[in-house]
């Protein structure tokens, strides 16, 4: 009987954590390149049991045109690779700029990888040409000179991806593939919007609070039953 109370109380605890996840999705409704977290109770394992493995929804976000030649969005699967504090990190936020020493960097100063290493514009900018054209395969062309290609990778298992802040993702086991050409395209002058759908999140929020209330009721009933049990023997 007492165990029942604990089970219900665990339910309360988990629902609250789920609400935190929903709250974070809603707060990031307008964050470029944000990928929504799926609340963990939505998951079922192979035995059709609720599982606590959390996943990230990597569905494509909408594209906004920004007309800025250093804004990029990936249409399709794959991630940009940047040099994070702990090695390579992945991101879908293609809002880049050029650092003091000529590297292509993200908003937070992380250098962006090309197929031949970090992309550096240093030599090219000093020439009398500063229009950067990036074609749909990611080839960076300055004037008529192909500098490098923006590196796009695809982790072989998206379940290994963890989020770090600044819209970057970590790979807990570092294996990734190179996606086939044609399975993605890089759009210059575009940014990918957050893929949070407010209606979906509202639905999750209702589900969480109703579940919370049911667990709450169960505890109340168990409490009442225990009270009855305590009265047995009283004459």
């Amino acid at each position: 009987m007492i165990k029942g109370i604990y089970v219900a109380a665990r339910g309360l605890d988990n629902r609250m954590k789920n609400l935190e996840i929903v709250a974070n999705n809603l707060a990031n409704l307008n964050t470029v390149g944000y990928k929504r977290d799926i609340s963990f109770f939505e998951m079922m394992n192979q035995f059709n049991q609720p599982d606590v493995k959390r996943t990230i929804d990597f569905a494509q976000g909408n594209m906004t045109q920004t007309f800025n030649q250093l804004d990029f969005a990936i249409n399709g699967k794959g991630f940009f690779v940047v040099e994070g504090k702990q090695g390579m990190e992945l991101t879908r936020n293609g809002k880049f700029s050029i650092s003091d020493d000529g590297f292509l960097v993200t908003e937070y100063g992380a250098k962006v990888y090309g197929k031949n290493g970090l992309i550096n514009f240093n030599d090219s900018i000093t020439k009398n040409e500063n229009t950067v054209v990036v074609n749909r395969n990611g080839e960076v062309i300055i004037g008529d000179y192909a500098l490098d290609s923006i590196l796009v990778v695809l982790p072989d298992n998206t379940m290994n991806i963890e989020k770090s802040s600044n819209l970057n993702f970590n790979l807990s086991d570092g294996s990734f593939l190179f996606p086939d050409e044609g399975s993605f395209e890089i759009l210059q002058g575009h940014l990918e919007e957050s893929n949070v759908n407010p209606i979906q999140e509202m639905e999750s929020m209702i589900k969480v609070s109703v579940n919370y209330e049911s667990n709450n009721k169960i505890i109340n009933y168990l409490d009442q039953t225990l009270e009855k049990a305590n009265e047995i023997g009283r004459t």
């Binding site: 165990k3 935190e20 809603l26 707060a27 964050t31 809002k95 989020k163 770090s164 919370y212």
Partner: protein
């Protein structure tokens, strides 16, 4: 207490408030010459690993189970605004000192201390020395100084300034130069339609209008603001609804906390 969800929702509301501020600034500048609209930008805050209690756990008591965790984010932060560098419409003014840029590029403006600023606002005036200056009083660089005997001024699309004097003879006085940046969205707006070079914008590249990707200059025109009211209205509705939905999170958390408080009869 489960205040993380509350703080997350509050961060979302605050970010949307910043968003509304940016949108209202755009709308206020709907008639500002050469104004480029801004867009607020956000980033997600750090993620924490939180242990969860799987329901299949048969141990009595509420324990944080080892190794089973989910990542929970801490909300959002407004970090910067981005200029949307999109061409504004050219409006005819029939004023010979009004010059608009169609395409990429900025006029280079010299401050009295010798440093440079950049602008697309080509509503030039002539000061007492005959030098072309912007509305804020800074000189166009390189200088274009008109002598007293100038009767007419004609500026071609490639920036050649041809003047006619009283006697009727005409000659080329100067050439207007434009400056381009690899990342014009990285320029810092300092007010008065002026921009400053930053690390993000890169070094300016000077050139002749109409060549090498530089825009053309049009005499007698001004570039209008690139703010589109309909677009801003849509953005405003979106921001307001996003604000509202974050407040719904606050309400839900509050209801849940109230239920928790009423657990004990």
């Amino acid at each position: 207490m489960p205040t993380r969800a509350l703080r997350t929702a509050a961060s979302g509301m605050y970010a949307q408030q910043v968003n509304i501020e940016v949108i209202s600034n755009n709308i206020a500048n709907v008639n500002t010459t050469s104004f480029k609209k801004n867009k607020a930008e956000f980033k997600d805050l750090m993620y924490q690993k939180v242990n969860v209690n799987p329901l299949s756990n048969s141990t009595p008591g509420i324990f944080d189970s080892e190794g089973i965790h989910v990542q929970v984010g801490n909300g959002v932060q407004a970090i910067s605004t981005q200029k949307i560098i999109r061409q504004g419409d050219l409006t005819p003014t029939n004023n010979q000192f009004d010059i608009a840029i169609q395409g990429e590029g900025y006029f280079q403006i010299r401050k009295p201390d010798g440093s440079f600023l950049y602008t697309r606002d080509g509503s030039f005036k002539v000061n007492s020395d005959g030098t072309l200056i912007t509305a804020s009083g800074y000189a166009l660089d390189p200088d274009i100084t008109l002598r007293d005997d100038i009767a007419g001024i004609f500026i071609s699309r490639d920036g050649e300034v041809e003047v006619t004097d009283i006697s009727g003879s005409s000659y080329v006085l100067a050439n207007i130069q434009l400056a381009r940046f690899i990342n014009p969205a990285g320029l810092q707006a300092i007010g008065d339609n002026l921009y400053m070079e930053t690390k993000a914008s890169g070094q300016p590249l000077l050139g002749t209008p109409g060549t090498n990707g530089f825009g053309e200059v049009h005499q007698g025109f001004l570039e209008s603001s690139n703010v589109d009211i309909v677009e801003e209205m849509i953005a405003m509705i979106t921001a307001q609804r996003a604000y509202e939905i974050n407040s719904k999170t606050v309400k839900t958390v509050e209801d849940m906390m109230q239920l928790a408080n009423n657990l004990k009869r």
